[in-house]
Each structure stands twice: as structure tokens, then as C-alpha cells.
Subunit: 345 residues, 2 copies
């Protein structure tokens, strides 16, 4: 048996499709109590469920929002996605998701196919800059797009990210103030992302006139650490890892070189992944409010969907937390190694 339609309901109830449609949309103002009751009964009897596709076609509104991220497994990304899903759901939107695997051609494909599917807006954590022109053009054409976390230098697209520049300066400053005489900035390929670049610039600005090194050989992290240590021989040194992967590499490297933290070297980095609390008595980290970035992106997007295109373009930076732990000497005894000092910038 085919599912009930508004047509079958109207026939069964002995009214017109219009009336049923009015009932469905809660327009009871001019409806007799009797008709209302009849329709209610019939709907229940037939177990009628309105077809949202037909509705979408007519209304030119799908209630769908698209999310595209490079890597949903990434603990950073998944929090962002959760924030998006939660806000969208709360506002009555459903979420279509795709994973670009850091490939901009896939990203492009998904942007386009989601738009064909008539998502009402798009939240994208961009893989790189390759689709900048596309996203810009689409926005100019009236599509609603918000960039979450990873940004582009631009004043056309709405963007939500965190205080990467200020927080990195805060951290680097804190390291020097703690008595570290040399700081190494450990990062993968700087040019691939605005976030990395921003953090690097903050590092440069804050370490001006101090002993500072860029370590960017992500693949040979052990060697990079050794190089850094031989250059800073005798000085108290710390490494700032600009991404979670870098941080993991640094921590692994330290471990494999049989070095101890904070005695032999200080460590701090992005982000506050669960393991950073557990390893080596605790690694000091920056915690980004990624869930909130997702939530806020969705909020801005939905606002734009509802209140149109002419609102000013938004650029939002959410504040991160600096969590100081053992790896920067912020715990005195082993027993306290699970304690942490949280600084809100």
C-alpha cells in the first residue's frame, strides 16, 4: 500500500486538499471544530505523514543545511560539527554532511551538489584556498555560506573562528615569562592554512628580539627537535606546537629521545585533546571553543537565511582558554599532576 497523501486524506475526510493543508499548517482560524476533528481522525487512521519533498518543492525551502569538513574524525572538527548539528536541530533544520578529506576538488563537488539539493545554507571548514573564488561567487549570487574555524582573508563571507593571533601571543609571552630563553614554533606546512599563518605571525610578533626558531619538518619530528636543542644548547627551551598533530609529534619525539618535560624541555600547543591531560603528567594546551564555533556559525547562517542577505558580513572570533599543566612546569609535585591551571584570556 502506498503511503497516504494529502489527497487521500482529503477524500477520506470528505474535505478539500486545501483544508487539510490548512490543518497541517496550523491555520485553524476559520475552521469549524467539526472539520478539524474529522481531519485529525482521518490523519491518524491513515497514519498520514506529510511528504517534505513535495512541500520543499512548492515552498522553495528545504529546511536543510549543509556542512562540509575536511576530516570528521578529527577531534577538533567533530566538536565543531556537533555544535552545528545541535543548533540547526534546535532551529528545526536538518543537517547534510560531507567529508572533503582535505581535497578541494571533492569540496567543490559537495558544495555544488548540496546546493543542487537546495540546502538553504552551507557551513564549511575549508580544505585550502582553492575554492575561494567559487565560494565568493556563490555568495555574491545569493547563496548563504559561513566559513567555520578556517578562514580566508576576505570581507564577503561570514566567518567564525577563534582568537588565534591573540592567544598565540599570550602563550608565547607566558613561555618567555616563565623563564624559557628560547622558543621553537613547530608547525606543518604554513601556507596551507590561514590559521597556521596567523599563529605563526603572532609567534613572530611576540618573540621579536628573543631567541626563536621555526621547526617545520613535521615528518622528521625527532630530528627537528634535536636540531632545535642543539641550537639552544644550555638555554632553557620550550616548544610551541601549533596544531594537534604537531603537538603529538613533539610529545612523541620527546618521549622517544628519552627527554623529560618540563625538566629538559617545555611544551605547549593546540588543542586540548583528551590525551594531553593524561600523558607526561599533563601537557599545557590551548583549548579552543570549537563546539561554540560550530554553534555560532549555524546561528549566523540561520540568521542570514531568515533575515536576508543585506545584513553586514560577520567576522566572529571566539575566545580560547590557556590550560597550564606539568609540561610547562605548572605543577609542583607528581601527585598534583592531574591538576591544571586555567587562564581565560
Amino acid at each position: 500500500m502506498n503511503p497516504a497523501t494529502i489527497e487521500s486524506v482529503s477524500q477520506q475526510a470528505g474535505v478539500s486538499k486545501t483544508t487539510v493543508s490548512r490543518y497541517l499548517n496550523g491555520k485553524f482560524e476559520h475552521m469549524s471544530a467539526k472539520t478539524k476533528a474529522r481531519i485529525k481522525e482521518t490523519i491518524e487512521a491513515l497514519d498520514y505523514q506529510p511528504n517534505l519533498i513535495a512541500r520543499s518543492l512548492k515552498l522553495k525551502k528545504t529546511g536543510l543545511i549543509g556542512v562540509i569538513v575536511p576530516d570528521i574524525i578529527n577531534p577538533v572538527t567533530v566538536n565543531l560539527v556537533k555544535g552545528v548539528i545541535d543548533h540547526c536541530t534546535q532551529e528545526g533544520y536538518q543537517v547534510v554532511i560531507a567529508s572533503s578529506d582535505e581535497q578541494s576538488d571533492k569540496e567543490k563537488e559537495y558544495v555544488l551538489s548540496m546546493l543542487n539539493r537546495k540546502v538553504e545554507g552551507l557551513i564549511v571548514n575549508i580544505a585550502d584556498y582553492n575554492n575561494y573564488d567559487l565560494l565568493k561567487t556563490l555568495t555574491e549570487r545569493g547563496e548563504k555560506i559561513v566559513l567555520a574555524d578556517r578562514t580566508i582573508c576576505d570581507s564577503i563571507l561570514d566567518m567564525v573562528t577563534t582568537d588565534n593571533y591573540n592567544m598565540t601571543r599570550t602563550v608565547v609571552k607566558a613561555l618567555y615569562e616563565k623563564g624559557y630563553e628560547a622558543v621553537g614554533f613547530f608547525s606543518p606546512e604554513l601556507l596551507k592554512s590561514n590559521v597556521r599563518l596567523t599563529r605563526y605571525n603572532a609567534f613572530l610578533d611576540e618573540s621579536a628580539g628573543k631567541l626563536a626558531y621555526l621547526l617545520h619538518n613535521e615528518n622528521e619530528y625527532k630530528k627537528a627537535i634535536q636540531d632545535f636543542l642543539s641550537k639552544t644548547q644550555g638555554k632553557k627551551a620550550a616548544i610551541f606546537a601549533s596544531t594537534p598533530m604537531s603537538l603529538l609529534n613533539v610529545v612523541s619525539g620527546i618521549h622517544e629521545l628519552n627527554l623529560k618535560t618540563p625538566e629538559d624541555i617545555g611544551i605547549c600547543g593546540y588543542d586540548n585533546l583528551p590525551w594531553t591531560k593524561l600523558v607526561g603528567g599533563g601537557i599545557s594546551v590551548v583549548e579552543q571553543p570549537l563546539y561554540e564555533v560550530g554553534w555560532e556559525s549555524a546561528k549566523i547562517l540561520i540568521d542570514r537565511i531568515k533575515n536576508g542577505i543585506d545584513n553586514p558580513v560577520k567576522y566572529v572570533e571566539l575566545k580560547s582558554k590557556l590550560i597550564l599543566r606539568n609540561s610547562t612546569g605548572d605543577n609542583v609535585t607528581v601527585n598534583q599532576s592531574w591538576k591544571e591551571i586555567i587562564k581565560n584570556d
Copy 2:
């Protein structure tokens, strides 16, 4: 300017909608090269993109698959979701996602609204048993639903999970064989999930006649561990943690009680989260192929969508790996603490 439609393309190209539609669907058999070229040009000139909503309405096919999980942040779940997304994308489906937050009323709501949106199938990691009747009824009515990871005793729904029973027996057996004289099974609320129950039954079956305890006070994990140790005084003891949260609690508890592993107590548990490799010289764990569970669920679902409803119901168990590390004494020296022994069951 409104987006181009098949109508505007047909007019501009001087052909009928039918012909354009044929072009779009690759039905070139009886089409003159000239017409084909004209249409191609016009489509490009107008930057025409077919409206998938209209297409879906006509075809009664949306190319959409729904996924509902209790908690997408959970590293276990997110791998499953990624597997689903990857397979669906590969097969040309798009994925709608929702998070039930372990609440069956939300779960029900999303199941229903996704079906109204005409997803062609549903993959659900169920929150609990409350929606069993609903899912069963829907399946009987012809909806395509696959249960991923968490199962229900049933022979109507397709299900994909891992070898929980066999693997738990393997682990418990291994613990006794390693010389542990008492094994504690640490789990949250057993009745909430079939997975937990299955693992518990395996534990009971394997530990028959041995010293075995159930520790289920998840909230007071320190106390639970102390109780266990006082009961097993003098015996070599190990704890098997049946979920990642339990495992974290056990590891935290051990740490807070200033106990050392494997000297004071052995530890093993689900799942292979990144931190288990890093803490305490490595925690022995079971690694479930969750990505593959998601992938396989999607495969079974899409197969059922394409090849109909009459295929036999599938129940698939994928094999887990046992990864032995320091916490069960499987590393001899500190320097090897990053090494691991992998056993495929």
C-alpha cells in the same frame, strides 16, 4: 535573477523540456549531435544546475540516507559515522545526520522526520531499546533500516556489529593465562545496551570457576577499585573495562590511588582510543573496526535499497583486534613502552 530551470534551458535552446531532460540523464541514443551541442552550450551559458528536489519528487527517490547516533563526539561513534559517510558518498548518496544524545524520544523524532524527508534508508546506532517496536514496524512497512554497532535481539532488522562475545572471552582468557588470579569486570549500567550485556555474558562464561567480580559503580570508580582490591588481597588481579568511559575511569582511579600498572594491577578494556597508547606506558585494549562497521552498514543498506526488501535479513559481526601493551605486562622494559603486540582473533 532566478536560477535557470529545465524550462528556461529548453526555450533558450529551442528544444523541448523532454529533450533537455534526456540530455541531462545521458540518453543520447537517438539525439542528433547538433541538438546535443546546442543544449550543452545553453546549459553552460545559463549555468544551469538541475533541481534535485523536483527530481526527487518525480522519481520518488532522494538519494539521501539518514544516520542517527547518540553521540557524535564519541570517538567510537565518529569512526562509524565516517565509514557510513564514505561509503554513501562513494555510492552517490548524501548523508543526513542527527544526534539523539542518548534520548529515545529524540531518536524517534529524527527517525520520523527523516523518513518524512524521504531518506531512502536509515542507519541507526540506537540509544536504547525504547524504539524497538517503532523500528520493527517501519521495517515491516518497507522502510530500510540498519542497526549499526548496538544491536537488538531480533531477526527482522539488518544489523552490523563486532565480535563482542568472542573477543571478550579471548581477552578474559588471556588475562587468566597471563597469571591473573582474579578478574574484575567494570561496566556502566548493564541493562542499557545489548553490547554491554553480551560482553558481560562472555566474561561470565569465560571466568566460570575462577575468581571473578562485577564492578559496576561507574560514578565511584575509585571506591569500586578499592573494593575489588580488598576482596582480592594478595592475589594477582586485573580489571577488564567494558567501555571506553569505564576504561578511562579505571585508569584515572589507578592513577589517583597511586597504584602502578602492571605491577599492582592489570588493565585491559574497550576501545583503542589514542590516549590508551600514551598513558601509563600503554594500556592494553580491544580495537573494534568501527569505521568498517559503518561502511558495512551503509553497504548492506544500499544493497537493500537497490535490490529490494526480500533479501534475507543480515546479521554481520566484524572481527576486533586485541592490542597488548604495558598495562597487562606485555612490555618488558620502559624503552619499549610504545611497542605493542597485536593479536588478530
